[in-house]
């Protein structure tokens, strides 16, 4: 998994390591088929000012997810009337999403326990 570039000038953190896949899958699950720019914008909007995303970094993740068969692509037309790829969640992708969510919840719960135990 590649590192995402962090913009040091602003006081925002990077997308947590290993979570971009989950974020993209969840985004497609909630919003339905979207093209790359829309996905990036949506992530930025949801994250508001918590993370700084290099918008381009979603593309390597997208091809990876596509090769895994978790998302599918279809050619469509952008708002600027250009041909563009629309990404959507596949059925295996949906399954993967629930797995990833469960995994994420387990690990946050684990970390939370440690934090509680410390106090």
């Amino acid at each position: 998994m590649q590192m995402l570039a962090v913009n040091m000038s602003e006081n925002k953190t990077d997308v947590p390591y290993g979570t971009l896949d989950l974020i993209i899958l969840k985004t497609l699950d909630t919003m339905g088929p979207m093209h790359g720019y829309r996905i990036a914008r949506r992530i930025e909007q949801v994250a508001e000012n918590f993370v700084r995303l290099n918008q381009g970094s979603i593309y390597p993740a997208l091809i990876r997810l596509e090769q895994q068969g978790w998302i599918g692509t279809k050619w469509g037309i952008s708002e600027t009337k250009r041909k563009v790829k629309f990404y959507s969640l596949t059925r295996t992708g949906l399954k993967q999403l629930s797995l990833e969510v469960a995994k994420w919840e387990r690990s946050t719960a684990l970390v939370a326990r440690f934090l509680e135990a410390e106090s």
């Binding site: 093209h35 918008q55 091809i63 090769q67 600027t80």
Partner: protein, 876 residues
Amino acid sequence: MNPRLALARLLAMFRKRKLDRELQEEILVHLELAEHDALSRGLMPDEARQAARRNFGGIEQMKEDQRDNRSVRWMENLLRDFRYGLASLARDPGFAAITIGLLALGIGANSAMFSIVDAVLLKPLPFPNPERLVRVWESTPNGHNGTTTLTFLDWKRQTDIFEALSAEGAFRAALTTSGDPARVSGKVVSADYFEVFGVKAQIGRTFAPGEDQPGAARVVVLSHAFWRTHFAADPGVLNRDLMLDGEPHTVIGVLPAGAFDRDEAVVWKPMIFAPDQMNRRQHWLAPVGRLRAGVSLDQARAKMNMLRASLDGVIVQKKWGFTVDPFMQMLVGDTLRRSIYLAFGAVLLVLLIACANVANLALAKGATRRKEMAVRAALGASRGRLIAQLLTESLILCLFGGAAGVAFGALLLHLAAPWVAASLPFTADLSMDLRVLVFAAFALMAVLVLVGLLPSLRSSFGKLSSALNQGPRGSSGSNATMRRTIVIGEVAASVILICGAALLFKSLAKLQQVDAGVRIDHVITMSADLPAAAYPTPDRAIRFYEAIVQRLQAAPGVEQAALSQGLPLQGVQWGEFLNLPGVRESLLVRLKLVDPGYFSAFQIPVQAGRGIESRDRAGATPVVVINEELAKQLSRTFGIPSAVGRTVSIGVPGYGPIPESLVTLQIVGAIGNERTAGLNAPPELVAYLPLAQVPRQDFKIVVRTRSAPSAVMPAIREAMHQIDPNVPLGDVMTMEQVRENSILWARQPTWAVGAFAGVAALLAALGLYGVLAHSVTQQRREIGIRMALGAGSGDVLSHVMRSAFAMLALGLAVGLAGAFILTRVLKTLLFQVSALDPLALAVACVLMAAVGILASWIPASRATHVDPMTVLRDEG
């Protein structure tokens, strides 16, 4: 990585351009949309574009990321090297073509040869549990012998040793189902013959128990090939009648395609023992058996020894024992095995020499590419990457060479198969099968290591500064030494092969000079068999003999017609014991049955008394004519100075149902030796009996002709047809062909090794030429300066030739030393030639030297044409 992902990544490599284009488009649309949004938020156009760019992050880095993510990096590298390698080979098509050609030659010849080795020696027999197949013999003091009917039946009862045991014998019959009679070969076998081989009929059945007992119905099993050719693969062939020698035989089964199609026999019928064969005197059966599962060869031998001891009271040959041998081992004679290994060894040497040439070429090329490599190293390519690059180029060459080689090998095998098949056992299936391809792949890998790794290690060693500074001037020292060493090795290996070939050719020549004791020019021979139904009695057969000889003698172009059982050089089938009256000791002699014309047709001189004459007919005094060897032996063993006039007793074969009998014969003459068992075998003890007194159903017709033998054939066929149209002629061969066939065992390895030696010499010459031509090119400047300083073209010539002579001389010396060690493997194949025959070895050296000097002459004379002015101007 799951399979789906792996596949996707693999596919991505081949869709690289398309995927890159799509990504580029996505990025453009992304930036456009971002700019669009920014504009609508009220930014200025310039600011909007910058913001879109900034938010996107590093484009090129992302693209690399995406590429890394979507495919397999090392494979992309490999593909790139592959493409680069192809391009660099295409830049130098001469080098590529020669290299691929050399590899194809080496790999092709080796694959073809390996196919033979594999089929004959390595592959298990094409039958289930082949390790349980055995031959059962009686062992004599000098080897093996067949067994007698009663002993065979004793063996057959050992069901705790053998699962099945079958006798087998050959027969030939006139097939008269349609039109002209054809002569077919068959085998008579015990009913469980096919159980021995574990072969079941494809259609119908094989023999049932009891079908080999007296009184059983006449049934036959057909080979698959015969069924296809003769019955057009008609599935309704069962229960049809096959007319063999005028008697109907019911077809009960057809064998599956396979090994039995390569057997000479096309029909099998049960062997039914006649009452007179029920004895322990006639050693005529060579049984083949299948050991019971779990019985080892040693156990079988031990049990057979016990059986032999228990039968001691009834066995006639007290000194002979019983023995069991693996069938496979008996199938391939020592000579054949040696010949095949020899040819394989020779062809491996050829491959080695071809590899040496390729390595040499690669080294030469490597030397010219040092600059390119140095520059690439300077630009940051790691040494590993450079070696990988060079190895990839070698791999490409090997792949092309290997593919061409396999094709060439298949062609070679296709061409050679008819030529060698006759010498191979029927179980040998010559084909480029998977095993041969695996062998070719392994050979290719070895070649790759030899020709790829070595030069690539060397060429990427160079330092940039020295490589760049050196320019095109001097010859690079260590590389040149290595290339010269390789050439010396090539010459040495070729010398070994040429020595071997020279020895074999000399031996073959000696063999061909052997006097067969018979005049073989203008003689044509053929075989015929009298059908038992039409010729049931000796009388009928004798009348046929007289009629056919008379008719042939009158035919145009015929000088002398004769009949005999067996031909010179083909071995004598019958061996019997000869006894002098009142003497216990006996001599084992070969029995040959001939008619009065035989000695004169072959111009065998009568040395004492007389030959066989027409008065020696049925009813007259039984006579025998002995050969010189037997006359000598009689005088040695029994102290008889002149055997003519003596009487002896010999067991004489019967005719049809008439049994073999012991007959007292009068020796009426002695004749010169004819070579009965082959040109390399010493004369045997032979007794000639008149065919008219001991008639046979199977016999040979020998015709001495006035003109070319083939021209007389139609007249011979016509004569035969007039006497009896139902007796077909077979095995039509001139006596010269018979003689050639009899030394096939020596000719085949000789020509194979000879051909390989020729190829090796050419390759070594090519290697020598290559090294000299390269060094002349590299030393043009030096030569130019020398010439400018007054050296004549003679000096230049001798300068180049000196280095050629040095390589040749070293190669010859090493090769001769190798030959001294290696030619001893030829010993058993050589006839009256020592494995260190000085003349043959000298001829081999002269040949190699001549070829080598010829090859060096071209670059040497080119060196003399160097124009000092041009060279100095070019490179000054």
